[in-house]
Symmetry: C2
Subunit: 192 residues, 2 copies
Protein backbone atom coordinates (compact mmCIF):
# COMPACT_ATOMS: atom_id res chain seq x y z
CA UNK A 1 0.00 0.00 0.00
CA UNK A 2 1.19 3.55 -0.65
CA UNK A 3 2.19 5.63 2.38
CA UNK A 4 -0.44 7.94 3.93
CA UNK A 5 1.68 9.88 6.45
CA UNK A 6 -0.99 12.55 6.89
CA UNK A 7 -3.08 10.05 8.88
CA UNK A 8 -0.26 10.06 11.47
CA UNK A 9 -0.39 13.87 11.75
CA UNK A 10 -1.22 15.34 15.17
CA UNK A 11 -3.95 17.26 13.30
CA UNK A 12 -5.74 13.96 12.67
CA UNK A 13 -7.60 12.92 15.81
CA UNK A 14 -9.66 10.16 14.17
CA UNK A 15 -8.74 6.48 14.00
CA UNK A 16 -8.89 4.58 10.73
CA UNK A 17 -9.00 0.79 10.39
CA UNK A 18 -6.66 -1.04 7.96
CA UNK A 19 -9.63 -1.48 5.60
CA UNK A 20 -10.37 2.24 5.72
CA UNK A 21 -6.71 3.08 5.07
CA UNK A 22 -6.66 0.79 2.06
CA UNK A 23 -9.82 2.38 0.74
CA UNK A 24 -8.42 5.89 1.25
CA UNK A 25 -5.14 4.97 -0.47
CA UNK A 26 -7.12 4.09 -3.61
CA UNK A 27 -7.95 7.76 -4.18
CA UNK A 28 -4.30 8.83 -4.34
CA UNK A 29 -1.42 8.38 -6.69
CA UNK A 30 2.09 8.01 -5.26
CA UNK A 31 5.05 9.21 -7.34
CA UNK A 32 8.80 9.51 -6.92
CA UNK A 33 9.86 12.48 -9.01
CA UNK A 34 13.20 14.04 -9.93
CA UNK A 35 14.27 17.62 -9.20
CA UNK A 36 12.48 20.31 -11.26
CA UNK A 37 9.63 18.07 -12.34
CA UNK A 38 6.67 20.18 -13.48
CA UNK A 39 3.43 19.08 -11.77
CA UNK A 40 1.07 21.89 -12.72
CA UNK A 41 1.20 24.55 -15.40
CA UNK A 42 -0.35 28.04 -15.18
CA UNK A 43 -3.21 28.44 -17.65
CA UNK A 44 -4.39 24.83 -17.34
CA UNK A 45 -7.30 23.47 -15.26
CA UNK A 46 -6.35 23.25 -11.59
CA UNK A 47 -7.28 19.66 -11.00
CA UNK A 48 -4.81 18.25 -8.49
CA UNK A 49 -3.89 18.58 -4.85
CA UNK A 50 -0.39 17.48 -3.81
CA UNK A 51 1.00 16.19 -0.53
CA UNK A 52 4.76 16.10 0.10
CA UNK A 53 5.92 12.78 1.59
CA UNK A 54 9.61 13.63 1.09
CA UNK A 55 11.40 16.57 -0.53
CA UNK A 56 10.14 20.01 -1.40
CA UNK A 57 7.77 21.57 -3.95
CA UNK A 58 7.17 25.20 -4.78
CA UNK A 59 4.34 27.12 -6.38
CA UNK A 60 5.25 30.12 -8.54
CA UNK A 61 3.98 32.44 -11.23
CA UNK A 62 5.72 34.40 -13.97
CA UNK A 63 5.58 38.15 -13.50
CA UNK A 64 5.21 40.72 -16.28
CA UNK A 65 8.93 40.45 -17.07
CA UNK A 66 8.74 36.65 -17.26
CA UNK A 67 10.58 36.32 -13.95
CA UNK A 68 9.70 33.34 -11.77
CA UNK A 69 8.16 34.44 -8.43
CA UNK A 70 7.73 31.78 -5.74
CA UNK A 71 4.56 32.34 -3.70
CA UNK A 72 4.67 29.18 -1.58
CA UNK A 73 7.02 26.34 -0.65
CA UNK A 74 5.78 22.95 0.58
CA UNK A 75 8.05 20.71 2.65
CA UNK A 76 7.32 17.26 4.13
CA UNK A 77 3.75 16.87 5.40
CA UNK A 78 2.36 19.92 3.62
CA UNK A 79 -0.42 20.06 1.10
CA UNK A 80 -0.03 22.27 -1.95
CA UNK A 81 -2.40 23.51 -4.63
CA UNK A 82 -3.84 26.74 -5.97
CA UNK A 83 -6.65 26.07 -3.48
CA UNK A 84 -8.89 28.84 -4.74
CA UNK A 85 -8.97 27.55 -8.30
CA UNK A 86 -8.84 23.91 -7.16
CA UNK A 87 -12.05 24.46 -5.15
CA UNK A 88 -13.96 25.93 -8.06
CA UNK A 89 -12.22 23.96 -10.83
CA UNK A 90 -10.96 26.94 -12.79
CA UNK A 91 -7.69 27.53 -14.59
CA UNK A 92 -4.78 28.08 -12.26
CA UNK A 93 -2.43 31.09 -12.23
CA UNK A 94 0.42 29.09 -10.77
CA UNK A 95 3.07 26.56 -11.75
CA UNK A 96 3.93 23.78 -9.27
CA UNK A 97 7.35 22.14 -9.55
CA UNK A 98 9.67 20.02 -7.38
CA UNK A 99 12.60 21.93 -5.86
CA UNK A 100 14.51 18.72 -5.15
CA UNK A 101 13.95 14.97 -5.63
CA UNK A 102 10.61 14.25 -4.02
CA UNK A 103 8.01 11.64 -3.12
CA UNK A 104 4.50 12.93 -3.43
CA UNK A 105 0.87 11.95 -3.22
CA UNK A 106 -1.57 13.52 -5.62
CA UNK A 107 -5.34 13.46 -5.71
CA UNK A 108 -7.65 14.77 -8.42
CA UNK A 109 -10.40 17.25 -7.58
CA UNK A 110 -13.04 14.62 -8.46
CA UNK A 111 -11.41 12.03 -6.20
CA UNK A 112 -10.97 14.57 -3.41
CA UNK A 113 -14.70 15.29 -3.48
CA UNK A 114 -15.53 11.56 -3.49
CA UNK A 115 -13.01 10.88 -0.72
CA UNK A 116 -14.67 13.46 1.55
CA UNK A 117 -18.14 12.09 0.77
CA UNK A 118 -17.11 8.48 1.43
CA UNK A 119 -14.84 9.17 4.42
CA UNK A 120 -16.26 12.21 6.24
CA UNK A 121 -13.99 11.38 9.19
CA UNK A 122 -11.24 13.05 7.12
CA UNK A 123 -13.05 16.40 7.07
CA UNK A 124 -11.81 17.32 10.52
CA UNK A 125 -8.14 16.77 9.58
CA UNK A 126 -8.44 18.89 6.45
CA UNK A 127 -10.41 21.59 8.28
CA UNK A 128 -7.60 21.92 10.86
CA UNK A 129 -4.92 21.81 8.16
CA UNK A 130 -6.50 24.63 6.15
CA UNK A 131 -7.41 26.63 9.27
CA UNK A 132 -3.71 26.66 10.20
CA UNK A 133 -2.59 27.26 6.60
CA UNK A 134 -4.98 30.21 6.33
CA UNK A 135 -3.78 31.55 9.68
CA UNK A 136 -0.13 31.18 8.66
CA UNK A 137 -0.80 33.04 5.39
CA UNK A 138 -2.22 36.00 7.38
CA UNK A 139 0.93 36.06 9.50
CA UNK A 140 2.99 36.01 6.32
CA UNK A 141 1.05 39.05 5.05
CA UNK A 142 1.71 40.76 8.42
CA UNK A 143 5.43 40.03 7.88
CA UNK A 144 5.33 41.60 4.43
CA UNK A 145 3.47 44.63 5.84
CA UNK A 146 5.91 44.94 8.78
CA UNK A 147 9.38 44.60 7.41
CA UNK A 148 11.62 45.71 4.58
CA UNK A 149 12.88 42.92 2.33
CA UNK A 150 16.24 43.02 4.09
CA UNK A 151 14.68 42.63 7.56
CA UNK A 152 12.41 39.88 6.24
CA UNK A 153 15.44 37.89 5.09
CA UNK A 154 17.23 38.30 8.45
CA UNK A 155 14.16 37.26 10.46
CA UNK A 156 13.40 34.42 8.08
CA UNK A 157 16.98 33.09 8.46
CA UNK A 158 16.64 33.28 12.24
CA UNK A 159 13.29 31.47 12.28
CA UNK A 160 14.00 28.83 9.60
CA UNK A 161 17.80 28.32 9.46
CA UNK A 162 17.57 24.77 8.02
CA UNK A 163 15.19 25.87 5.31
CA UNK A 164 17.45 28.76 4.26
CA UNK A 165 20.32 26.23 3.92
CA UNK A 166 18.16 23.72 2.05
CA UNK A 167 16.57 25.60 -0.84
CA UNK A 168 18.44 27.00 -3.84
CA UNK A 169 19.30 30.64 -3.21
CA UNK A 170 17.63 31.95 -6.39
CA UNK A 171 14.32 30.47 -5.18
CA UNK A 172 14.74 31.93 -1.71
CA UNK A 173 15.42 35.31 -3.35
CA UNK A 174 12.31 34.89 -5.54
CA UNK A 175 10.20 34.04 -2.45
CA UNK A 176 11.46 37.08 -0.54
CA UNK A 177 11.18 39.45 -3.50
CA UNK A 178 14.94 40.07 -3.75
CA UNK A 179 17.25 39.72 -6.72
CA UNK A 180 19.71 36.80 -6.30
CA UNK A 181 22.56 39.36 -6.37
CA UNK A 182 21.08 41.40 -3.55
CA UNK A 183 20.42 38.25 -1.48
CA UNK A 184 24.05 37.22 -1.93
CA UNK A 185 25.18 40.68 -0.73
CA UNK A 186 22.88 40.45 2.31
CA UNK A 187 24.32 37.02 3.17
CA UNK A 188 27.89 38.36 2.99
CA UNK A 189 26.90 41.32 5.20
CA UNK A 190 25.17 39.12 7.78
CA UNK A 191 28.18 36.75 8.01
CA UNK A 192 30.78 39.50 8.41
CA UNK B 1 -33.24 31.97 18.06
CA UNK B 2 -30.15 33.88 16.91
CA UNK B 3 -29.50 33.94 13.15
CA UNK B 4 -27.08 31.33 11.71
CA UNK B 5 -26.70 32.59 8.13
CA UNK B 6 -23.63 30.42 7.50
CA UNK B 7 -25.87 27.36 7.37
CA UNK B 8 -27.47 28.93 4.25
CA UNK B 9 -24.07 29.33 2.57
CA UNK B 10 -23.52 27.48 -0.73
CA UNK B 11 -20.41 26.04 1.00
CA UNK B 12 -22.70 24.13 3.36
CA UNK B 13 -24.05 21.04 1.58
CA UNK B 14 -25.46 19.38 4.70
CA UNK B 15 -29.03 19.67 5.98
CA UNK B 16 -29.72 20.49 9.61
CA UNK B 17 -33.03 19.91 11.41
CA UNK B 18 -34.62 22.65 13.52
CA UNK B 19 -33.46 20.81 16.65
CA UNK B 20 -29.90 20.71 15.34
CA UNK B 21 -30.01 24.41 14.47
CA UNK B 22 -31.19 25.26 17.97
CA UNK B 23 -28.44 23.14 19.48
CA UNK B 24 -25.82 24.79 17.23
CA UNK B 25 -27.08 28.28 18.11
CA UNK B 26 -26.37 27.55 21.79
CA UNK B 27 -22.62 27.62 21.10
CA UNK B 28 -22.67 31.16 19.73
CA UNK B 29 -23.20 34.62 21.10
CA UNK B 30 -24.99 37.20 18.93
CA UNK B 31 -24.14 40.89 19.39
CA UNK B 32 -25.08 44.18 17.78
CA UNK B 33 -22.06 46.42 18.13
CA UNK B 34 -21.34 50.07 17.30
CA UNK B 35 -18.61 51.33 14.96
CA UNK B 36 -15.03 50.95 16.26
CA UNK B 37 -15.92 48.43 18.93
CA UNK B 38 -12.79 46.50 20.00
CA UNK B 39 -13.37 42.74 19.91
CA UNK B 40 -9.86 41.42 20.38
CA UNK B 41 -6.68 43.02 21.64
CA UNK B 42 -3.12 42.08 20.57
CA UNK B 43 -1.15 40.50 23.43
CA UNK B 44 -4.19 38.73 24.92
CA UNK B 45 -5.21 35.07 24.52
CA UNK B 46 -6.80 34.47 21.11
CA UNK B 47 -9.95 32.78 22.25
CA UNK B 48 -12.70 33.84 19.87
CA UNK B 49 -13.79 33.33 16.31
CA UNK B 50 -16.12 35.92 14.76
CA UNK B 51 -18.69 35.71 11.97
CA UNK B 52 -20.05 38.85 10.33
CA UNK B 53 -23.85 38.78 9.95
CA UNK B 54 -23.99 42.48 8.96
CA UNK B 55 -21.35 45.19 8.70
CA UNK B 56 -17.60 44.96 8.49
CA UNK B 57 -14.73 44.04 10.83
CA UNK B 58 -11.01 44.42 10.34
CA UNK B 59 -7.95 42.78 11.85
CA UNK B 60 -4.85 44.93 12.29
CA UNK B 61 -1.56 45.20 14.14
CA UNK B 62 0.51 48.17 15.23
CA UNK B 63 3.84 48.46 13.42
CA UNK B 64 7.11 49.62 14.97
CA UNK B 65 6.01 53.26 14.63
CA UNK B 66 2.69 52.52 16.32
CA UNK B 67 0.84 52.88 13.00
CA UNK B 68 -2.28 50.76 12.53
CA UNK B 69 -1.82 48.24 9.66
CA UNK B 70 -4.92 46.37 8.46
CA UNK B 71 -4.11 42.79 7.43
CA UNK B 72 -7.63 41.57 6.77
CA UNK B 73 -11.18 42.87 6.35
CA UNK B 74 -14.25 40.72 6.97
CA UNK B 75 -17.56 41.60 5.33
CA UNK B 76 -20.93 39.83 5.60
CA UNK B 77 -20.63 36.02 5.71
CA UNK B 78 -16.93 35.95 6.52
CA UNK B 79 -15.23 34.41 9.52
CA UNK B 80 -12.42 36.31 11.19
CA UNK B 81 -9.80 35.40 13.76
CA UNK B 82 -6.04 35.13 14.10
CA UNK B 83 -6.58 31.52 13.05
CA UNK B 84 -3.02 30.41 13.76
CA UNK B 85 -3.12 31.52 17.39
CA UNK B 86 -6.79 30.61 17.75
CA UNK B 87 -5.96 27.00 16.75
CA UNK B 88 -3.19 26.63 19.31
CA UNK B 89 -4.66 28.97 21.95
CA UNK B 90 -1.73 31.35 22.12
CA UNK B 91 -1.62 35.12 22.47
CA UNK B 92 -2.67 36.94 19.35
CA UNK B 93 -0.62 39.54 17.45
CA UNK B 94 -3.72 41.25 16.10
CA UNK B 95 -6.49 43.61 17.12
CA UNK B 96 -10.01 42.97 15.79
CA UNK B 97 -12.40 45.92 15.62
CA UNK B 98 -15.65 46.84 13.85
CA UNK B 99 -15.24 49.23 10.91
CA UNK B 100 -18.93 50.16 10.95
CA UNK B 101 -22.00 49.23 12.98
CA UNK B 102 -22.18 45.45 12.86
CA UNK B 103 -24.06 42.32 13.87
CA UNK B 104 -21.78 39.47 14.71
CA UNK B 105 -21.69 35.93 16.00
CA UNK B 106 -18.81 34.90 18.24
CA UNK B 107 -17.75 31.50 19.47
CA UNK B 108 -15.07 30.66 22.03
CA UNK B 109 -12.27 28.24 21.16
CA UNK B 110 -13.61 25.75 23.74
CA UNK B 111 -17.12 25.97 22.28
CA UNK B 112 -15.78 25.69 18.73
CA UNK B 113 -14.02 22.44 19.64
CA UNK B 114 -17.16 21.09 21.32
CA UNK B 115 -19.35 22.19 18.40
CA UNK B 116 -17.20 20.23 15.94
CA UNK B 117 -17.21 17.16 18.19
CA UNK B 118 -20.97 17.25 18.69
CA UNK B 119 -21.92 18.30 15.14
CA UNK B 120 -19.30 16.77 12.83
CA UNK B 121 -21.58 17.56 9.88
CA UNK B 122 -20.26 21.13 10.21
CA UNK B 123 -16.67 20.06 9.51
CA UNK B 124 -17.24 19.99 5.77
CA UNK B 125 -18.53 23.60 5.69
CA UNK B 126 -15.58 24.88 7.71
CA UNK B 127 -13.11 22.82 5.66
CA UNK B 128 -14.40 24.42 2.44
CA UNK B 129 -14.46 27.88 4.02
CA UNK B 130 -10.84 27.69 5.16
CA UNK B 131 -9.71 25.98 1.94
CA UNK B 132 -11.04 28.98 0.01
CA UNK B 133 -9.72 31.48 2.58
CA UNK B 134 -6.25 29.91 2.39
CA UNK B 135 -6.40 29.93 -1.41
CA UNK B 136 -7.50 33.57 -1.49
CA UNK B 137 -4.62 34.52 0.85
CA UNK B 138 -2.14 32.96 -1.61
CA UNK B 139 -3.66 35.01 -4.42
CA UNK B 140 -3.34 38.11 -2.25
CA UNK B 141 0.38 37.32 -1.74
CA UNK B 142 0.72 36.89 -5.52
CA UNK B 143 -0.86 40.35 -5.92
CA UNK B 144 1.63 41.88 -3.48
CA UNK B 145 4.50 40.14 -5.32
CA UNK B 146 3.19 41.24 -8.72
CA UNK B 147 2.26 44.87 -8.45
CA UNK B 148 3.46 48.15 -7.08
CA UNK B 149 1.25 49.72 -4.41
CA UNK B 150 -0.16 52.11 -7.02
CA UNK B 151 -1.10 49.30 -9.43
CA UNK B 152 -2.54 47.29 -6.52
CA UNK B 153 -4.90 50.16 -5.68
CA UNK B 154 -6.05 50.54 -9.29
CA UNK B 155 -6.70 46.82 -9.71
CA UNK B 156 -8.34 46.58 -6.31
CA UNK B 157 -10.68 49.45 -7.20
CA UNK B 158 -11.55 47.71 -10.46
CA UNK B 159 -12.24 44.36 -8.78
CA UNK B 160 -14.03 45.61 -5.65
CA UNK B 161 -15.56 49.03 -6.48
CA UNK B 162 -18.27 48.80 -3.78
CA UNK B 163 -15.78 47.89 -1.12
CA UNK B 164 -13.51 50.82 -2.01
CA UNK B 165 -16.53 53.12 -1.59
CA UNK B 166 -17.62 51.50 1.65
CA UNK B 167 -14.56 51.48 3.94
CA UNK B 168 -12.95 54.59 5.43
CA UNK B 169 -10.09 55.71 3.22
CA UNK B 170 -7.44 55.64 5.97
CA UNK B 171 -8.19 51.93 6.49
CA UNK B 172 -8.03 51.20 2.79
CA UNK B 173 -4.67 52.99 2.71
CA UNK B 174 -3.48 50.95 5.70
CA UNK B 175 -4.57 47.71 3.99
CA UNK B 176 -2.76 48.61 0.76
CA UNK B 177 0.37 49.89 2.51
CA UNK B 178 -0.10 53.49 1.35
CA UNK B 179 -0.18 56.68 3.37
CA UNK B 180 -3.68 58.27 3.40
CA UNK B 181 -2.16 61.32 1.61
CA UNK B 182 -0.73 59.20 -1.19
CA UNK B 183 -4.02 57.29 -1.58
CA UNK B 184 -5.86 60.58 -1.88
CA UNK B 185 -3.42 61.72 -4.62
CA UNK B 186 -3.89 58.39 -6.47
CA UNK B 187 -7.67 58.84 -6.34
CA UNK B 188 -7.45 62.34 -7.78
CA UNK B 189 -5.15 61.06 -10.53
CA UNK B 190 -7.44 58.14 -11.41
CA UNK B 191 -10.51 60.38 -11.60
CA UNK B 192 -8.88 63.00 -13.79
Amino acid sequence: MIPLPFLESPLNTQTFSEEEKEAIAEYFEFQKIPKKQMLQRAGTACKELFFVVKGCLHMYFLDENGTQRTTQFALENWWLSDFLNFSVQRETDFFIESVERAEILSISAANYRKLMDEHPKLESYFRRTFEIGYGAAMHRIKYIQSYSKEETYLRFKEQFPDFVQRVPQYLLASFLGLTPEYLSELKKKSIS
